[in-house]
């Protein structure tokens, strides 16, 4: 039994690639009008709830300001991300990966347990807990898989005028087009924060083995 299934590994790297391109081209798109609003409309930076920075060329795709080219990258990789996410979630639902490894159990929600898990993390002890993942891992992966990634897909669709005509309930769900755009931006940065924490924890917990396992599949230590 491998630690990571082939479907998980394949999606992990494809999704990383897609998210990297989407995030960096998204920063280029944000530079066109780096002001965020709530509700259906908004165009005046003086009424914005957030005036974002202008992101530098080294952080954007392409490496210079080009709304048209950035959108080309964004709209192409949106397919890799969106189709990849839906297919992965369906496979992981079918092979019970989500249910077995990601969904938390009621007994994990006791404060004493959670406190112990946090304390273990602070001691940089990552080899604890029963299943494949400990409570904080399940929480983080669950948040990303079930909330943040689907929100990116749905708010991205909601921002599009063509989608708004095709399924108007979607934009209603987010409280208007500018609200959906604000959520798209905030969740993108939340995913970036997840990436930073994720990479730091991988580096602290034996990066060679961890990354190797995500490529080769590794061996499950669950059986022991």
């Amino acid at each position: 039994m491998k630690k990571h299934r082939l479907s998980t590994r394949l999606w992990h790297w494809l999704n990383l690639w897609a998210l990297a391109v989407l995030f960096m081209s998204g920063l280029n798109i944000s530079n066109a009008h780096p002001h965020l609003y709530w509700g259906q409309w908004g165009f005046d930076p003086r009424t914005a709830w957030l005036n974002a920075w202008t992101f530098p060329g080294w952080a954007t795709i392409p490496g210079y300001y080009s709304l048209g080219d950035a959108r080309s990258w964004h709209l192409l990789f949106a397919w890799l991300f969106g189709v990849g996410l839906v297919v992965f979630l369906l496979i992981a639902l079918a092979n019970r990966h989500l249910w077995r490894d990601i969904v938390t159990r009621r007994k994990e929600w006791r404060w004493a347990e959670i406190r112990g898990d946090i304390a273990a993390h602070l001691r940089l002890d990552f080899h604890h807990g029963t299943g494949k993942y400990n409570f904080l891992q399940k929480l983080a992966y669950g948040l990303v898989l079930f909330i943040l990634l689907p929100l990116m897909l749905l708010t991205g669709l909601a921002i599009s005028p063509g989608s708004d005509a095709a399924f108007p309930w979607l934009i209603e769900l987010f409280g208007g087009r500018q609200s959906a755009r604000s959520i798209h931006f905030v969740v993108a940065w939340s995913l970036f924060a997840f990436l930073v924490i994720h990479v730091v924890l991988v580096l602290l917990s034996g990066p060679i083995r961890q990354i190797g396992d995500m490529i080769t599949g590794g061996r499950s230590d669950e059986a022991a």
């Binding site: 259906q40 192409l76 095709a166 490529i215």
Partner: protein, 245 residues
């Protein structure tokens, strides 16, 4: 170990070289294809006739931002402006049975549609306004579209320094009930900054498709050979032809 190096090198190369890769022919083809997939998905899921949301008068933005060309600034446009656009003509040409040259009075005399819609700019901002004008479909029927026609091209009076503004849509959007040639914004004649005296409303697409200062409606079989050949001023400069996404 090797595989990891290859992967790291690959992704670094991909991110660093995006600008160069993006300019290659296969990538340009792929970008164009992805744009088409979005169009097909939206039209499949919503139906080709799906209407853009219409709002109530209470939702109208207090001000409707102008963008792009705020005033064409040419001597002939200034003369039209001085005469209240009394001599403005909307040509209907190309693959039509009866070419037309409509005056503003004739445009206003056609059956009108009024709609309160949200304008979504490609830059990201939105504004809500009320637009009035005849449906494009009425004008095309008047001129008698020939069966070879596949696209409608809009000719405009503004020039952005390196080319005349123009735009194009396919017949699905041309015959869509909310596609109108607007001469009024919020019940008053169109302000200059919003495209006086006539501008397009293509409600299911982003703002740059909504050509302003419209002088001509041209029915064509192909977009090749018109300016840069990509179907619009911004499209010739890298923007997506289908802007519903």
């Amino acid at each position: 170990m090797k595989r990891r190096n290859v992967l790291a090198g690959l992704s670094a190369g991909v991110l660093a070289g995006c600008s160069k890769i993006g300019a290659t022919k296969p990538m340009q083809k792929l970008f164009g294809a992805a744009d088409g997939w979005h169009r097909e998905m939206q039209r499949t899921l919503g139906g080709p006739e799906a209407l853009a949301r219409e709002f109530s008068p209470a939702d109208i933005s207090p001000f409707f931002r102008g963008n792009g060309t705020l005033d064409p600034g040419t001597a002939s446009y200034a003369a039209h402006e001085a005469s209240g656009f009394a001599d403005w003509q909307l040509g209907v040409t190309g693959l039509v049975a009866r070419p037309l040259a409509l005056s503003l009075a004739q445009v206003r005399a056609l059956p009108q549609r009024t709609q309160i819609t949200r304008h979504d700019c490609v830059e990201g901002w939105s504004a809500i306004g009320q637009w009035t004008g005849p449906q494009l479909k009425t004008i095309l029927d008047l001129a008698g579209l020939r069966p070879e026609a596949r696209y409608i091209v809009f000719r405009c009076a503004d020039n952005l320094g390196d080319g005349d503004y123009y735009e194009s849509i396919d017949l699905v959007d041309a015959y869509h009930p909310q596609t109108i040639v607007a001469h009024q914004l919020n019940g008053a004649p169109l302000p200059i900054k919003n495209g006086a005296p006539l501008r397009m409303r293509i409600e299911r697409q982003l703002g740059y498709k909504h050509a302003k200062f419209v002088t001509g409606i041209d029915a064509v079989a192909s977009l090749q050979g018109i300016a840069g050949g990509k179907g619009g001023y911004w499209e010739d400069r890298g923007y997506q032809w289908y802007a519903g996404i």
